[in-house]
Symmetry: C2
Subunit: 568 residues, 2 copies
Amino acid sequence: MIKIAAVARGDIPADLVIHNAKIANVFTQNYELADVAVYSGKIAGIGENYSGRVNFDAKGRVLIPGLIDGHIHIEDTMMTPANFAKIASLHGTTTVFADPHEIANCLGMSGLEYMFKASQGLPVDIFYGAPSCVPASEFETPFDELDMNAIKSMFERNLTQHLGEMMNFPAVINGDTDAWGKILAAGNVPLTGHAPGVTGKNLNAYLSSGINSDHECTELNEAREKLSRGMFIMLREGASFNDLRTLLPLIRENPLNAARCMVVSDDITARYLLETGHMDAKMKIMLSEGLNPFIALRMITLTPAEYFRLYDRGSIAPGKIADFAILDNDELDETFKINSVWKNGRLIAKNEDSFHIDETEHAAPAIKLHVKNIPTTEQIKINPAGKIINVIGVTQGTVITKTLQVPFEDAKPENDIAKIVVLERHHDTGRFGVGFVHGLGISSKGAIASSVAHDAHNFLAIGADDRSIITALSKLAEMGGGLVTTEYEKITGSFALPIAGLMNCLTPEQTAAELAKMDREAEILCVKIPNPFMVMSFLQLSVIPELRITDLGYVDITKGGIQKLFVR
Amino acid sequence: MIKIAAVARGDIPADLVIHNAKIANVFTQNYELADVAVYSGKIAGIGENYSGRVNFDAKGRVLIPGLIDGHIHIEDTMMTPANFAKIASLHGTTTVFADPHEIANCLGMSGLEYMFKASQGLPVDIFYGAPSCVPASEFETPFDELDMNAIKSMFERNLTQHLGEMMNFPAVINGDTDAWGKILAAGNVPLTGHAPGVTGKNLNAYLSSGINSDHECTELNEAREKLSRGMFIMLREGASFNDLRTLLPLIRENPLNAARCMVVSDDITARYLLETGHMDAKMKIMLSEGLNPFIALRMITLTPAEYFRLYDRGSIAPGKIADFAILDNDELDETFKINSVWKNGRLIAKNEDSFHIDETEHAAPAIKLHVKNIPTTEQIKINPAGKIINVIGVTQGTVITKTLQVPFEDAKPENDIAKIVVLERHHDTGRFGVGFVHGLGISSKGAIASSVAHDAHNFLAIGADDRSIITALSKLAEMGGGLVTTEYEKITGSFALPIAGLMNCLTPEQTAAELAKMDREAEILCVKIPNPFMVMSFLQLSVIPELRITDLGYVDITKGGIQKLFVR
């Protein structure tokens, strides 16, 4: 006799019963006042008069399915999976789909294995995609390339169930066998995409590969076209990129689109998690925009579960795993405050208190960062080989840069033009690229530097003077990665990220505090742009236009690759 | 360089271009006038100015995705898979999900292997479920039991991708390890259900097994409850059971339900296919009921594809297989006449002309029906062992029977009470059950008999006199199964079904003509009910209330099993 059936019938007691729950039903878009009986980690039944060994009175408050984030890079929170899961669970999250391509760039398969290991046994399910773009392009030098064979083996070893974002959209569109080989190696799984601004026949070409989702829509018409071509749309609402409000008309104009759209984080910070929240924050935005709350809820529960082909979750229904949360309130409204969260029928978070994990169990990966070949101030000095140079133009609020052409003699801090140096850090080759950047507002002295710099995460320093830059790079090397601010030979601020130069073992509170401290130190150096470390982290990302810099020098993907410093 | 990407970009010619198509987009619920470029069996691109090696001008007529039937028993058309596919393709069908439990009852795994083999290479994709209920209950005797190990091996051998309808809902609800073992053996696949009238905590128990669809809803509230519990609803519109109109308010009250509801055939006949159509017939009904045509179309394309986790079809979009059809018309309206059909980019049907299959390639299974042990008239004679007998009460228009209690002396043809005999046919044991049936209107002489009798398909004869019954059973044995009408020793009509006693190799036209002939012969015997062979085919089906008859005698599942002939 199968016990869960007996529990469902009401013949034997459940493990747990949530009594008097106002269930938010994502199938009917209605409330239902009932008990929910749980047995062996699954929902056995919904109805009246269930009894359990453990009984919890919801007192008519709303019960929602556990929330699901369909796309996030955990490394970018600078926290370990455990610490991320801890804070996410407080916000009602029970399942996350993460693309670990940051650590894959830094440590290859060992980095991925660390992430898998560090996520095992956590009370939040983290499903990692196979990173499809390591390196993001041939103009970046990661620790190692993850080729189609590596992708294949990740699926064969059951480490992954979906392909991570295929960022190299030009390669897919051009029918490049390397990019297509990775897609085909993944096989019949959700193939997640990344195709900013791709449209028309190029979009056809991208989709002819089988890729079927995108989280890079920033305009409504772009999203409409992608929807019409069969893509699932991930409406991104992160710490810096906020597309949710822009794209919500998609759902308003056709509620059926809620079955093809989900809301995702992509990049969020410890501070965002602490101050704004996680998927609950997205829900609040949708509610404040007047969206039907059940339809909004579907997009952060059932739809991502279905997209990722996890049929055991995303709703409160018999046979599903018992992932759910009770709100403080008895309505789905803008307060949307999570009170208690259950994962597989186990209470994992209540009020401000989450589960406890012994972080030592999930020790950092064995491979440490060892950089000894630091250039000298002499080596990063630019000899005038012409009159006009290319300069990276940064504009606040967008990840897109511009290519500026400036007389070499004007490349000075007083014109808001600072030197930028990228130092290869994975194999200690000493290879570096030098250029200039405009728009950060760095003053007459000092430098800021970081080992978090998408996607290859080579050391990046920006400074008003060469001494401060070299001091900063040396400090990064000494710490094994992190964030640094310097003034000549003085370290004015530092925040070590010992795990692959990307993450640490600190709590969300500690991480946020360290970051805030670093931002203040940057401000003292007259860096005028908010979140300077996040802004600079995108300056290496070769797959985004226009001018970028890597250890190979300037890169402009729209112009076919490597660019010279001196134009003439 | 990957060629489909080049085709998609418009750089090299496609294999086929459908020009000037008015594409019915199931994602946006809109038309789009464009070309569709096909390469290597897949849709490469949608847009303007594609050129192909083959070009087809749609002249602005509507292009729809290939239609999908989410649930059908092909054996019940009495045609082979090839002949079924031929007529179905003319009606725009390109994919079918079939439960081969009829032949599984008759020939076990060999029967299934015949169906798989007979469907290979057909231009309509037929995906068979693993029959979950062979026998349907312990009160039926099929050729062989398909146990949980057989189910497991079907999945291991990749013969199937879903579990066929779990009809034994009482067993699932009761937590029976045999039924649950089959469900668990199927694993993480679509588990199709069959739960007529199951509600409340019993429904919870049924669903706690992971079963997630149902095609047995006959009432709106039943369907609403099942939807609210996470089930996909298959709205059935067959030859005899017509639930579509009843259930359409589900979609009208909430268009999002179109993502959770599909339309299916379950049981249709050759005549229905010829005269009414296939999925196009369902579409016409939905359109005549005023449903949004794009939403209606979604329920016979995208939704079943997604439910069955076939992400390569159900829409016209880049990367999907090139399954589509052109209508005669330039609007999705009630005419909904299919003009031309493509499967994997190949034209398979145009106007009234479909593909040609050499039926000998798909030879019938090796196991033949050999029944020698026919009872004598003496043996089926009833000795009065009491005064009152149970009689099966048949009512026109419903599959549910009633239990009537009748004085034995009144059990005569003039009271519309005929003798009914079920003879075990799979192992020639000679075992038979005898009873009486009211409501068919059989006259003073003659019998009708059939080897099509759900689910065990033992021989079933109903007659006014014993001689006609025995003649009919003998003729069934001689033919190796089929349909028979007799008058004493004379065969007045016969239609052989040599494949498992269920199917023949005739065309739809021939099959329909033979059936019509047999219906006329039954009429001559004063059988008053329409489609008598179909009506009698359900009288053995032990899982439907109330009184049924098998070779073990009377069965009433609601009363726990075997019932006596004489009440007192």
